[in-house]
Amino acid sequence: MAAAETPELSAEADLSEKTQPSTLRLVLRNKAVFWGGLLLLAMVAIAIIGPFFTVAPTEQNVMSRLKAPSSAFWFGTDFLGRDVFSRVVHGGRISLVVGISVALIATAIGMVTGMIAGYIRWLDAPVMRVMDGLMAIPAILLAIAMIAISGATLTTVIVAITIPEVPRVVRLVRSVVLTVREEPYVEAAIAAGTRLPFILIRHILPNTIAPMIVQATYICGAAMLTESILGFLGAGIPPEIPSWGNIMSEGRTYFQLTPWIIFYPGVALALTVLAVNIVGDGLRDTLDPRIARKMRA
């Protein structure tokens, strides 16, 4: 064609490096992520470092039972004279361990299952029906049943909370896979003879990461709440290990007399879950391309 020589590449020569801020910086620029993250970091730091500076949470002091908060006992003491501050700090470890483990395990299992269900067509229907079944199991009932069978341990609680969370992750990953698998670059990879595992890992998995991170934060928050509910019902972590849930459970009887036993672990729980959810919201706003575009426009 006659035009071919004229502009060659000049009409579309745009090989300049476009300066794009790194994803991390973009994420931190979001106020919700920044402040939520700061709050969460503070809670984590307290949970990790705090226990080294407090008295043992199980140390009983019969002389000072049900004492109001003071300079000696910041959050007061409970009916056995245990320091509520120390118990809340130790309880934070349990909550965070449960929240984070459930989020990690549920996303890991959900990611693999979701990719398989989304990509391998004949497996889609059977896998998803099993997931529908799992989703019908209420976490709390399942936990109570499992603890009745195998005893109250941290592992049982984590497994019991994880199982009903998995299908939510599977659904999310599957929906991403279903849209991405139709992308021409995935088809080009198929046409280039790329084997299935590589198609999944190279071309499809990276697209699921962003929504997964967001979902993981919500799961983390929900798991901490469920753990506390279980503790409160007496079906969670055994009472010798303090968790926010069982501290509140034990304080319930004395609520009118000594409200601080319930108040402080309650505040700690609310703040932590709030921090996790704020971070999740912020991440969704920056990582979800559709919403991100709207926010910038």
Binding site: A2, P7, Y185, A192, G193
Partner: protein
């Protein structure tokens, strides 16, 4: 220009882009007019600012994109000085707009008649009965068949052309002085496009409307324009009457653009050695549906007994409108879809119905280049990684694959250093070159181009077409070229195959088919190609 005062006059308009955009102004110091009973085409490639001009006139720009200088005078009133409420009244009454995609421009859950009536409800004092009567009147005016019944239809029940007619009816309901059409036929098939262009011309004549017509397609321009405004990077580079611009362009950019428009005249092609078929397809069928759990669902024949042969160094064009089955055929041949039955022979092996694992060794022989350059490359992998992936799947060492990738980058006209970059750093045309390099890296025997140049601007399109023709010769490729664009097909295809509803209706040498079409449908297609009788300046 018509002697009377213009309907729309744009004077020294500059529209600023937000900070961080690739240039400070979306449009800079542009001036032109649209007279009554006049169609002014604003043409330009992507990023030329033609749509921003239309949106600024309608007052529909996002907040950040602001007119900073100049005037837009619509029938004596400066639109840039109007309040939001005044603009709302003017839109519809004095000016109206039709868009590219009629499906998304209509609300899917409201009957189309009611959607038109809403215009009258908002802007007039007519009683509901009078409103409905008026709606039926405009629906008849845009030649909608059975308009009384169609009043109660929902958008999804109509064809693309009918939807666009509804949009036009809606725009015309209040008899505005100015109609802005932003690529109104780009999403339509060529035969429908011809009808809509005819309709716009006819209505504009009868109602004396001024039309501002935004398009990138010079065929359409030739068909419809009274005057033409050529834009490049936000500036008007040239304007004049249709004949001045199309036949005697002055500015080098206009000259380059018009010279890039592929001619309807088939180009001369070298003789092909017809003894070496590279790809043979026999009785390929692809049906959708037909099986259902509880009842047999409706069966759709996407391809019905399709036969084709492509020889080495030959380009076979497959042309047809949307739904003709041309893309399904391509995808069946690359085995991205499984044909229901038939034989597809490549390098002596029948690959039509073999299993995925048996297919794998044959994959390197057939490669495909897709339409959308923005979605064809994995955004998270470097261009180099994308190109070497295929060869390395077949045991080529990383060093060797990379050396070949570098060589191919040069061949497709890009620098070898660009291999470390990511797709977003390239323009559409460059990405399409990369996709071609990726396909060639497999050393295929057959290359399928599925609308490979359809998404590109006309000047880039010409270059990519040249590249495709060049690599076909260099590597002895058999090429299957899928397109809806008869101009493009004329330039690159040795033979041509016309498909309609999954069936091949005509096949033959390009020059012969264009000069003497045998099938009725081929004749319709050729007649509908916009601007077919205009000999663009070369």
């Amino acid at each position: 220009m018509t002697g009377s005062t213009p309907v729309l006059e744009i004077r020294n308009l500059s529209v600023a882009l937000p900070k961080g955009a690739d240039r400070p102004f979306a449009v800079e110091d542009i001036s032109f007019t649209v007279g009554a009973k006049e169609i002014v085409c604003v043409v330009g490639e992507s990023g030329s600012g033609k749509s921003v001009t239309a949106f600024t006139t309608m007052g529909l720009n996002p907040k950040e994109v602001k007119a900073v200088k100049g005037e837009i005078i619509l029938q004596g009133e400066d639109l840039l000085k109007k309040s939001v409420a005044e603009m709302r009244r003017l839109r519809g009454e004095k000016m109206a707009m039709i868009f590219q995609e009629p499906m998304t421009a209509l609300n899917p859950v409201i009957k189309v008649g009611e959607q038109i009536r809403e215009m009258l409800e908002i802007h007039t004092e007519l009683s509901p009965a009078e409103q409905k009567a008026r709606v039926l009147e405009v629906m008849e005016d845009v030649s909608l068949p059975d308009h009384v019944k169609m009043y109660d239809s929902y958008p999804h029940q109509l064809s693309g052309g009918q939807r666009q007619r509804i949009m036009i009816a809606m725009a015309l309901a209040l008899e505005p002085g100015l109609l802005i059409a932003d690529e109104p036929t780009t999403a339509l098939d060529v035969t429908t496009q011809a009808q809509i262009l005819e309709l716009i011309k006819d209505i504009q004549q009868r109602h004396g409307t001024g039309v501002l017509f935004i398009t990138h397609d010079f065929g359409v321009v030739a068909e419809i324009a009274d005057r033409i405004v050529v834009m490049q990077k936000g500036k008007v580079v040239e304007q004049g009457t249709r004949d001045e611009i199309l036949l005697r362009p002055q500015h080098p950019y206009t000259k380059m653009l018009i010279a890039s428009v592929p001619s309807m005249e088939p180009s001369h092609r070298a003789e092909i050695d017809k003894t070496a078929p590279a790809l043979i397809a026999q009785k390929v069928n692809k049906t959708y549906g037909g099986v259902g759990l509880f009842r047999k669902s409706r069966e759709v024949h996407a391809n019905k007994d399709v036969n084709l042969v492509v020889h080495r160094r030959e380009t076979l064009g497959v042309v047809g409108e949307s739904g003709s089955g041309k893309s399904t055929l391509a995808r069946c041949i690359v085995r991205l879809q499984d044909p229901t039955s038939g034989h597809i022979e490549v390098e002596g092996a029948d690959i039509a119905t073999i299993s995925e694992s048996a297919m794998r060794p044959h994959r390197r022989d057939i490669q495909i280049v897709f339409q959308d350059p923005y979605r064809s490359l994995n955004p998270r992998r470097t261009v180099g990684q994308s190109i070497v992936e295929g060869p390395m799947n077949f045991g080529v060492s990383a060093a060797e694959a990379e050396a070949r990738a570098k060589e191919l980058m040069e061949i497709v006209g890009l620098s070898a250093e660009a291999l470390d970059r990511f797709p977003h750093q390239f323009s559409g045309g460059q990405r399409q070159r990369i996709c071609i390099a990726r396909a060639l890296a497999m050393q295929p025997k057959v290359l399928i181009a599925d609308e490979a140049v359809s998404a590109l601007d006309v000047s880039v399109q010409a270059q990519v077409l040249d590249l495709l023709d060049d690599v076909r010769e260099r590597y002895d490729l058999a090429m299957l070229f899928i397109t809806h664009d008869l101009r493009v097909a004329a330039q690159i295809c040795d033979r041509i195959m016309v498909m309609q509803n999954g069936v091949v209706v005509e096949e033959g040498e390009t020059a012969k088919v264009y000069a003497n079409p045998q099938h009725e449908y081929t004749r319709t297609l050729l007649a509908a190609a916009p601007g077919r009788d205009v000999a663009f300046a070369k």
